[in-house]
Structures are given as C-alpha cells and as structure tokens.
C-alpha cells in the first residue's frame, strides 16, 4: 500500500478539485454574476465560508466555478497536444529516418526553441485575450512534447517481435501504428498527459494573472490573484485562497502523475526498490 501513497494522495486531491468543479454546475453557495459592493472584502465567516472579494462576490463560489475554467483550459490544451502530437510522433516513428521523420522532428525542435511563455503571451495579447486563445497558446507547446514522447516509445515498439509479426502478415504501417503501437502507448500517454495537465493549470494561471486568460465574468484563479494583488496587504485571504487552490490542484496532479508512472512502469518501479 505504501508504494501507492503518492498516487492515492494525488488522486484524492485531484478528486476534490474535480468534484468541486462538477458540483458547481448544480449548485454554488451564491450567484457570482451578482455583484454586491456593500458586502465587499469580508474575511471568512458563517455566511461566506471563504469570505468575499472586492466586488462582494462569494469566494468559495468563485473558486468552485474557477476550478471549472482551470480544468477545462488545461484539459483542452492537453487534448490539442495529444490529438496532434501523438499522430505526428507515430508517423515519425513509422517513417523512421526518412524525410517525414526528419521534417517532424526538426519542426518539433523549432517549436521547442521558442520561448513558450513569451509566445503564449504574444498570441493572446495580439489576437485577443480569452479562454479559447489561451487553450491554443498552451496547446501548441504540448504538441512537440507528445510527439517526442510517443515517437521515442513507438521506435522501441517497432523492434518488438509482435510488430514484426504484424508486418510480415502484410499490415500497413498505418494500421500497425493504430492497432498495435497506439494501445501500447496508453500508459505512457496517461502519465505524460497528467504532467502536461498540471503544467497547463500553472500556465493558465500565469496567463490569467497577466490578464490574458478567461475574460470576466467567467472566474479564473489566475485573475482572482491578479485582482487580489493590490489588496494583499489588507485582505490577504484574497490571494491566499486562490493561490492555495492552484497549488493543491497542481500538487495533486503531480503526485498522481508520479504515482501512475511508478504503478504503470514496471522498470522504474524495480529500480526504486
């Protein structure tokens, strides 16, 4: 059981966030589109468990709905990365050493060479701030990660006997990639996906913090921090609560990612013992 402790701890934390986000669709303590200036800047109390912000909105409700934004942006960014990166990686592995491999991997290197944060800020600043552009900006930099990881793993699979058998039986490279290689990458992709997911949450928080993430009235943790920043000195809970939400979510996902890798990758587990 001890072996899985980080997996369990991580899964618990992530689940809390997920439940809070899912639950917010059905019910939140207060309507967050309704501002109430006279109720502003309350510290945590019986009516508002986590206090109220500078517009008098309930922070607990904001955090719950904000979880939705963070998770959705990060998840879709991972989706973009996987959806485009994995096929590219598989294609590169299938055409190993050939022109297509070279083109894909060089393009990969090129994207890696761009300073991701600067480009994300550039994209969102130039084409308008908003959740959609944030997803694209974060997602683009997930593509080479997934392409590289899946190519690396696929290359070693191509040497395996069961693949050779499939080739002998006359299956096309495309079919082999889809039917035999891809299913064997699932574990790896889950682990990498979890890591990119947590990085995506941090990136979204950063973009929202500089005002380039989801736009109001959609709440987002990063923007809550940005709004709070001038009030930290007299209302520290405004910064501490969204900050903790980000930290706990990222922590949960990272622990879960590490735990999954240990649980799913027998080689690593052995070397740890």
């Amino acid at each position: 059981m001890m072996k899985y402790r980080s997996l369990i701890a991580g899964a618990c934390l992530s689940l809390i966030v997920l439940i809070a986000a899912a639950f917010s669709f059905a019910w939140i303590p207060y309507d967050i589109t309704q501002l109430s200036i006279p109720d502003k800047l309350q510290t945590p109390n019986w009516n508002h468990w986590l206090g109220t912000d500078h517009f008098g909105r309930d922070i607990l409700s904001m955090i719950m709905v904000g979880a939705r934004t963070s998770l959705a942006v990060a998840l879709l960014a991972v989706g973009i990365g996987m959806g485009i990166g994995v096929p590219l990686g598989l294609a590169a592995a299938a055409g190993r050493g050939a022109f297509i491999d070279e083109v894909i991997m060089r393009t990969n290197d090129l994207i890696f060479a761009f300073p991701s944060l600067v480009i994300a800020i550039l994209i969102t600043a130039l084409f308008g701030a908003g959740a959609m552009n944030a997803i694209v900006a974060i997602g683009v930099f997930n593509i080479p990660v997934f392409a590289r990881v899946s190519r690396g793993a696929a290359l070693s699979l191509w040497q395996k006997e069961f693949i050779l058998a499939a080739r002998v039986s006359g299956k096309s490279k495309l079919r082999i990639s889809a039917e035999h290689i891809l299913p064997n990458l699932t574990n790896l992709l889950i682990v990498q996906g979890t890591i990119q997911f947590s990085l995506g949450i941090l990136a979204e928080a950063g973009l929202s913090y500089v005002g380039l993430g989801a736009q109001p009235p959609t709440p987002s943790w990063g923007r809550m921090l940005a709004d709070a920043q001038t009030m930290v000195s007299f209302a520290p809970h405004l910064a501490l609560i969204p900050g903790s939400a980000i930290i706990l979510t990222v922590l949960g996902l990272n622990l879960m990612g590490d735990g999954l890798r240990d649980a799913l990758d027998p080689k690593l587990r052995k070397s740890r013992q």
Binding site: V118, I121, L126, G206, L225, Q229, I246, I247
Partner: protein, 315 residues
C-alpha cells in the same frame, strides 16, 4: 563528422529562416497599428500617415521582411518604433539585468538542489526522504508569481529588508545590484530548485543501482563514500542537461517575475513592446531568443556527436 556537422548546420540555417518567417507572419498579421497607438485619439489621419512613413511602415510587408532579416545578418536588429533607439543597444542594456538574474536564480537553485538531492538519495525510502520529496512537490506546484507576491509582502513591505522591486544598477557595486535581484531570483529559483533536487535524487539512485557501485559497496566502501566518489560524478550528466534547459527557460521565462518586481529586463521589454505594438522589437527579441536556444542545441548536438560516434548516424 564533418559531413554530420555540415548537415546539422544546414538544418540550423533552415530552422532560423523558418523561425524568422513564422515570427514575422504572426506579429505582422496582428491587429493594431504602432503609429496610431503613439499618436493617440486626437491625431489627424494625415499625421498618422506621416508617422507611418517616418517609421517605414508604408512599405510592403515583403520589403520590410527583407530589410529586417538583412539587417539581422549584418548584426543590426533595427530601430524601435516607440523608443526610436537601436534595438541592439536596448537588448544589450536589458541583458545586464536578465542575464545576471538568470545566473543568480540558477546558482541559487543549484546550491539548494545539490545538498537536498544528495540528502534525499542517501536517505532513500526513509521518512526524511519522503518529507523532503513532499516539500519539492510543493515547490513545483507553487506559481512563481504568487510566491513573488508573498515575498514582497513579507520582506519588502512588512520587514523592509529588501526594496519592493526595481533594479539598482551595477554602478554602486555588486552587492547593491545583487540585493535588488535577490527576491526575484528566489521566486524564480524555488520551482527550479525543486525540479533539480528531484532529478538529482533519481539520477543518484539510478547510478547507485549500477553494478560497479554494487561492487564497490561489496568491497566495503562506505555508502557515503560511494555516493560522493562514484555516484555523484555519473549523475552529473542528467543534472547538467536539466541545468542547461533551465537556463534557457530563465532567460525568457522571467517575463512575469520581471513584471512583478518591475525589473528592466528582456522579458519586460518584450511585454511592453507587445502592448505598444512596437512590432520590430517583439520580432527581433523573440528571434534572438530562438537563435540562442537553437544554436546552443546545435553545439550540444555537435559535442555529443564528437563524444559518441553512433549519434552521427540516424537518431
């Protein structure tokens, strides 16, 4: 080897050309005109046209692309639209903040990560290892701008040990300059140190399980001695790779931290240039950053290839 180097150099040039096209295209199709931004809401159309002509914006995009890239080949990055000063000078000036900041953060992160990683590896599996690794997990999860906010409140506003931001310059001595970079460097170093400690620890554990280490242990060399004498040296390769990656990240990744501490660094130059539509500055600085990363990768590849001949053929 020569053939390999030639091939890689060719691909380097191709990458740079491609990068310049991508950067130029992305920045140029963006809405927003630098001339109307500078002249504000009372400007008359003919004034804007006059300024556009003065800035050379009335030329075609293709001509401007050629002028920009041609200038860069000669080492001239152009003239900023808003500041009207040579971009090369501006970049060099900002480098005096960004480069020391990146090095400072890197030094801090390495200084923290080495003992932490060593300690955790030597206590592998023990509660103290678990505790240390838990802390590093937390360090990775903390957004650095949030950490920076907290540092400012505690050390600048409440305790007043450090100034809240700004850069004192190097003219008054190394200490004054470093002091003003301390809080930013700490906020940048925290997640980096956490990552590096973890890499350090697992690299050490990996090498400790190698056969020759086991042999050394069997011969009666103490665990600590093995760790110091053998494992550490072999664990350096992944650790140095990560340090290299972190350095290039820190050069450009300080953009938000520079904002929080209002440091006149490269990141803030880009950020300001974006909002002011000083397109040529955005293009040139991003190009410079890309160039730095690509050429560092190029030399790393060459070094690896020189060391390991297998790498010259295929992947």
């Amino acid at each position: 080897m020569l053939q390999y180097a030639f091939k890689r150099a060719l691909s380097l040039c191709l990458s740079l050309c491609l990068a310049s096209v991508v950067i130029f295209a992305v920045v140029e199709i963006a809405p927003g005109d630098p001339a109307s931004f500078m002249l504000g809401i009372n400007a008359q159309p003919d004034t804007i046209a006059a300024l556009r002509a003065e800035l050379g914006l009335d030329q075609g995009k293709f001509v401007r692309y050629l002028e920009w890239t041609g200038g860069m080949l000669r080492g001239d990055f152009g003239t900023s639209y808003t500041y009207r000063s040579p971009i090369t000078d501006m970049v060099v000036e900002r480098m005096w903040v960004s480069l020391p900041l990146a090095l400072y953060a890197l030094a801090l992160s390495t200084l923290i990560a080495f003992p932490v990683g060593l300690y955790a590896a030597s206590k592998r599996g023990a509660p103290s290892d678990f505790a240390v690794m838990g802390v590093t997990q937390l360090g990775i999860a903390i957004p650095n701008f949030w950490f920076a906010m907290i540092l400012v409140v505690i050390f600048a506003i409440k305790l007043r040990w450090f100034s809240a931001g700004g850069f004192a310059g190097w003219d008054d001595g190394l200490f004054i300059g470093l002091k003003s970079l301390t809080l930013p460097a700490i906020s940048l170093a925290l997640p980096q140190a956490s990552i590096l400690s973890r890499v350090m620890r697992s690299a050490l554990i990996e090498t400790l399980s190698e056969d020759y280490i086991r042999t050394a242990r069997a011969k009666g060399v103490s665990r600590t001695a093995v760790l110091w004498r053998h494992a550490l040296r072999n664990a350096m390769i992944p650790v140095l790779t990560i340090i290299g990656l972190q350095f290039s990240f820190l050069m450009a990744g300080a953009i938000i931290i520079e904002q929080v501490f209002f440091l006149p660094g490269l990141g803030r130059l880009v950020f300001q240039a974006i909002t002011q539509r000083d397109l040529i500055v955005v293009e040139s600085v991003v190009m410079l950053l890309v160039f730095a990363v690509i050429s560092v990768n190029f030399f790393i590849d060459l070094t690896y290839a020189a060391v390991d001949p297998r790498l010259r053929h295929g992947s």
